[in-house]
């Protein structure tokens, strides 16, 4: 399991197609007929589990991997129920095939921290089913009732006759039945007897990633391959007006300059030649809808929109009658907040290798949505999806950016145009110019209180560009009655005892490219909500911890808040530093939510306005932790993301174009700025809850709350740049 099988090396196919051993087919979360057709047409065996006579157990990792480590966690779930000896397990990256579809999204798609949560029961069932096939085969062979058989790691045991047989030896004679045994929830292992889940096994991809052996899409080289770069229109939707392609074609090695809908592609025989030609490109672009947009004016307009009662709004979240409650309130407390555009700046610039030939299409790409890449490529190339092979490569960062797949489509278009395999890469500058941003947001929250100071109603208005149409298309937004669930994520407050709540979205359209960004709306929304909670505590003359514990009604929420406060020794005063506290949820109500609370120990240089967060404590209730050590690493990363967006990250637009170019003018948090971080993972229940984006949303408000406690001044506009902090301190 320490090898790094690239999905295009022959070894995997040999294992799968060789026919030796026992291969079990499971169609999970897919229409079986469609999955079988796709599998048969592509000549592949549709299987999660293969057991070889030497005892090797191969398990498919179905989900795209971007650092979240589900390529270990998902096979581990199967291995647990199979009762596999983990040392004999080999993990393989699954092919792109409907048989491996995400059980909720019905495609191979990684977003919303819902991978482990959604595959959980289907993969447990698949593992139990594989185990049952082995037991049935042994029962028949030994003529004993299957109920007398048990398993130990990779062993079938008949205690009554003291007989034991290894899984490998069973695989040598067993044949998977045409109809696999049905597994009921009661057939699954009791959670209390898990051997692997909750115990931490090493991630299978770590050795490859610690030696440079792991191959990302950008590392792929195929015979006859040429190199492409794409200069995209700086403003979304702008078309090419003119370019100096004739001059570029005179550069030795430049073979093509191709105007496309997205921009101008330059193709050369070598990478360095393509890059040199890109640097020499001169292009003019026609105006588009966003060509006059300037984000410094935008923020003022967005704030004006949330203040104006006449602004047309879509109801995103609603409980009770908040408007009535506010009208009847004895006192209304209001607050305004905003967040700037942020971009992913994932370390591996967007790229893909595509080969369009008479036989079909082959693509090597790091993507969060490989089935979409397949389907789009089929349309571009004019073939059926079964003629498209997508090799799911590990991603050098995803964070929501690689849920958008335009860069793969562009590679297919260029390969089709030049008739050769092409590696199409974005330079860092092109990647940043093509930022698909988390939209800028403006918030106004009005909270109604009764005579006793109790919260009776909460109204939250959010002005932001839409994201759903850019990721899923307009039809999806219409189907959701206009509710952009990405912008409105966690804009509600169900953990608190607030009887009436309304969250509204005031659509803005600045013509910029928007995207899902780690945590989606939960980041900006948690900032506004949790800063507001501190404002309410201040109004009530109460300590923010005590106020939260009194207002929270959800016991899991109370537990994480109390735990984070205990970790931080909340009531202990610090010399030169102040604590701020916030709470954040992650998940969807139908599948359950994870809970987190963060305390930020914060220092401020009042002269310069520079904030330094010296320590973060985080308590996280993640349901059942599958890989606890990895969960801590993911949450640490999420906290660092949150802090980076709280303090320094900011995309601005001028004349509709992104102004930042690289890590120099879009700084992200570096090691010297990282606080000490302490994470405590709390378990509740028997189901794993979302992790990868948890706690991010609590960081911005925790810092704002700390500064408010320290100075009496509220930081309302993230990121809290030194200029903004100085401004706030004056006010």
């Amino acid at each position: 399991m320490t090898t790094m099988p690239s999905s295009f090396r022959p070894s995997r196919r040999a294992v799968l197609a060789g026919g030796a051993g026992l291969s079990l087919a499971f169609a999970i979360g897919a229409e079986t007929g469609q999955a079988q057709t796709a599998a048969a047409a592509a000549g592949r065996v549709n299987a999660y589990v293969t057991i070889l006579p030497d005892g090797t157990i191969t398990i498919m990792a179905p989900a795209p991997e971007m650092g979240q480590a589900t390529n270990t966690a998902l096979p581990l779930i199967i291995a647990e129920e199979l009762d596999a000896d983990w040392s004999k397990v080999q993990i393989l990256t699954a092919p792109v095939n409907d048989a491996f579809n995400h059980p909720v999204f019905r495609s191979q798609f990684v977003v919303a921290s819902l991978t482990t949560r959604a595959y959980w029961m289907p993969l447990r069932t698949a593992g139990a089913q594989a185990r049952r096939v082995l037991l049935d085969a042994v029962a028949a062979r030994w003529s004993v009732p299957v109920t007398e058989l048990t398993t130990e790691p990779s062993m079938v045991v008949h205690a009554a006759s003291s007989r034991r047989i290894s899984f490998g030896d069973v695989a040598a004679f067993a044949v998977a039945p045409a109809t696999l045994p049905e597994i009921k929830p009661t057939d699954l292992k009791p959670v209390s007897s898990f051997r692997l889940i909750g115990k931490d096994v090493p991630r299978w991809d770590v050795p490859g990633k610690s030696t440079g052996r792991t191959r990302y899409a950008i590392d792929v080289k195929v015979p006859g391959m040429v190199y492409g770069v794409l200069a995209r229109a700086p403003v979304m939707g702008a078309s090419v007006k003119s370019h100096n392609g004739d001059d570029l074609r005179k550069i030795a090695g430049v073979t093509h300059v191709i105007p496309m809908s997205a921009g101008i592609a330059i193709v050369a025989d070598r990478m360095e030649t393509a890059l040199a030609a890109r640097a020499a490109l001169k292009a003019e672009w026609n105006a588009a809808a966003g060509s006059t947009y300037d984000s410094s004016r935008g923020l003022a307009a967005y704030l004006a929109a949330v203040r104006d009662p006449a602004s047309k709004a879509i109801t995103g979240r609603k409980t009770g009658e908040a408007e009535d409650a506010l009208k009847a309130a004895v006192k209304v407390i209001s607050g305004e907040f905003s967040t700037d555009y942020v971009t992913h700046a994932q370390m591996e610039p967007l790229n893909a290798v595509a080969s369009v030939s008479a036989d079909g299409v082959e693509i090597w790409v790091g993507t969060q949505w490989p089935t979409r890449v397949r389907d789009d490529a089929a349309k571009i190339a004019g073939v059926t999806p079964d003629k498209v092979k997508v090799n799911m490569m590990p991603m050098g960062g995803g964070f929501g950016r690689r849920a958008h797949t335009e860069y793969a489509n562009e590679a297919v278009e260029v390969s089709k145009a030049v008739g050769k395999p092409v590696k199409l890469i974005s330079t860092r500058e092109d990647d940043m110019a093509n930022s698909h941003v988390r939209p800028m947001t403006a918030h106004k929250i009005d909270v109604g209180l009764d005579a006793s100071g109790k919260v009776t109603g909460w109204k939250h208005r959010i002005a932001a560009d839409l994201v759903v149409p850019n990721l899923y298309g307009m039809a999806r937004l219409d189907a959701q009655k206009g509710v952009d669930h990405i912008v409105m994520a966690h804009a509600d407050v169900p953990s608190y005892d607030i009887p009436a709540h309304l969250a509204e979205h005031i659509y803005q359209d600045s013509g910029v490219r928007t995207a899902a960004w780690r945590g989606i709306g939960a980041g900006p929304n948690a900032f506004a909500i949790e800063a507001m909670i501190d404002e309410l505590a201040k109004n009530a003359g109460q300590d923010p911890l005590a106020y939260r514990l009194a207002l929270l009604k959800d016991p899991r929420a109370k537990a994480v808040v109390q735990a984070a406060a205990d970790m931080a020794e909340w009531s202990r005063r610090r010399e030169g530093a102040t604590l701020g506290l916030a709470f954040a949820r992650l998940g969807v109500p139908q599948l359950g939510e994870a809970m987190s609370a963060v305390v930020a120990e914060t220092m401020l240089d009042r002269a310069t306005g520079k904030i330094r967060v010296s320590k973060l404590w985080c308590a996280a209730d993640v349901g059942l932790p599958v890989q606890p050590g990895n969960i801590v690493h993911q949450i640490r990363g999420s906290l660092i993301w949150g802090l980076s967006s709280a303090l320094i990250e900011r995309i601005t637009f001028k004349n509709g174009a992104v102004e930042q170019t690289n890590y120099t003018d879009y700084p992200v948090l570096r090691m010297s700025e990282m606080p000490d971080i302490e994470v405590r993972v709390l378990r509740s229940g028997d189901i794993p809850m979302p992790v990868g984006e948890l706690a991010l949303g609590a960081v911005i408000p925790a810092v704002s709350n700390a500064i408010a406690t320290m100075t009496g001044k509220r930081l309302r506009n993230a990121p809290f740049t030194t200029a903004r902090v100085q401004e706030a301190l004056k006010g």
Partner: protein, 150 residues
């Protein structure tokens, strides 16, 4: 043709002298462990050693490496048995992994000149290497582990 030593072996490269060493390594020699992050020496993903010193391959013209000894992640002595690689695995440092070759090469240069760095020295030395996943804590722990020979 320009000659240089890559991981202890003399290589002849047919590329223009101004070609960034990064693309020579990655595309001409297929040593893809050295990764492209920024192209302007701002992120550290492409860190290699040139005559024993850490250098950003993206901002090093091939001509500047001519006749010199270049070590990439693939040439790290001992491979999987190198103390830093072992420590990286023990600490489960990588997440997406893309920056980690550069991190390890930067760390190897530190330990070569300062086998027992303080935490402060580690942070100061590593601060030019970005990890967008936020694995900084694991990286520090791994360097400390390697420096202790654990």
């Amino acid at each position: 043709m320009i000659s240089l030593s890559i991981n202890g072996r003399m290589r002849e490269v047919s590329a223009a002298p101004e070609t960034p060493l990064l693309w020579v390594l990655r595309e001409h020699l297929e040593l893809t462990g050295t990764t492209y992050g920024c192209g302007i020496a701002a992120c550290g993903a492409c860190t290699v050693h040139i005559d024993g010193q850490p250098a950003r391959a993206c901002a090093t013209p091939l001509a500047a490496a001519a006749g010199k000894s270049v070590i990439t992640i693939e040439g790290l002595p001992g491979g999987d048995g190198h103390p830093l690689v072992k420590a990286w695995v023990a600490e489960q440092a990588p997440q997406c992994g893309y920056c980690q070759s550069g991190q390890i090469m930067q760390a190897a240069a530190l330990l070569a000149s300062n086998p027992k760095p303080t935490r402060q020295q580690i942070v100061a030395h590593m601060d030019g290497n970005i990890c967008r996943c936020g694995s900084y804590g694991q990286i520090i722990s791994a360097i400390e582990r390697a420096s202790k020979g654990a």
